[in-house]
Amino acid sequence: MNATSTADPRDPVVLTCIECRREIDWCEFCDEIDCGVPICYRCMNRALEDALFEPHEHGA
């Protein structure tokens, strides 16, 4: 049996951010439209920046 697709290849691809579920046109990290773990600009920056602010040893 041959598989058929009704999807129009000209249709714009819509991805969903894996963090906030917002619709995005491409993954902000890898710039790909077929990324398996797409992430939006805001969530990507939050993920990368949060890693900077782990608690200091003096607790400040």
């Binding site: 993954c27 902000e28 990290f29 890898c30 710039d31 790909e32 990324c35 773990v37 990507m44 993920a47 990368l48 890693a51 900077l52 782990e54 608690p55 200091h56 040893e57």
Partner: protein
């Protein structure tokens, strides 16, 4: 940038990025650039302007294009860039999950710091994990 806190001694993206990555200009020809990049042992090239601001990126797929193409038409324009202060573990983790072979590291005004190669990032991140395990 001064670093402090529990992670201050660990490498960041800017420490691991290769500053010797080949660069080219938008008005060059892909064939000429590809030859230069290949003979330097690289499979990527960062397209910059006169101020070293990143304009585009050529990975192996783009470098394999029509040699007659001007870089402006061959490059991936406006690639995502990352700041030098991002912890290397985060970058390695993201690059692995997104299957990204390299990523340009730039200052906040877009000037090239270097190209972070995934294998380098993973190696450095493993070193951090080992250090944390010992501490």
């Amino acid at each position: 940038m001064p670093s402090e806190g529990t992670n201050a001694e660990y490498p960041r993206a800017g420490d691991v990025a290769r500053s010797d990555v080949p660069t080219c200009r938008m008005d060059e020809r892909l064939g000429d650039v590809g030859e230069r990049v290949g003979s330097a042992g690289w499979d990527a090239c960062v397209v910059v302007n006169d101020e070293s601001v990143v304009m585009g990126l050529l990975r192996s797929k783009e470098l394999d294009g029509d040699p007659e193409l001007p870089i402006e038409r061959a490059m991936r324009p406006g690639p995502s860039t990352f700041r030098p202060h991002v912890p290397i573990q985060e970058m390695a983790d993201f690059m692995t999950r997104h299957d990204l072979v390299n990523a340009p590291i730039t200052t906040s005004d877009g000037r090239l710091v270097g190209l972070l190669v995934r294998e380098d990032a993973q190696k450095a991140a493993s070193g951090v994990e080992r250090s944390k395990g010992e501490g």
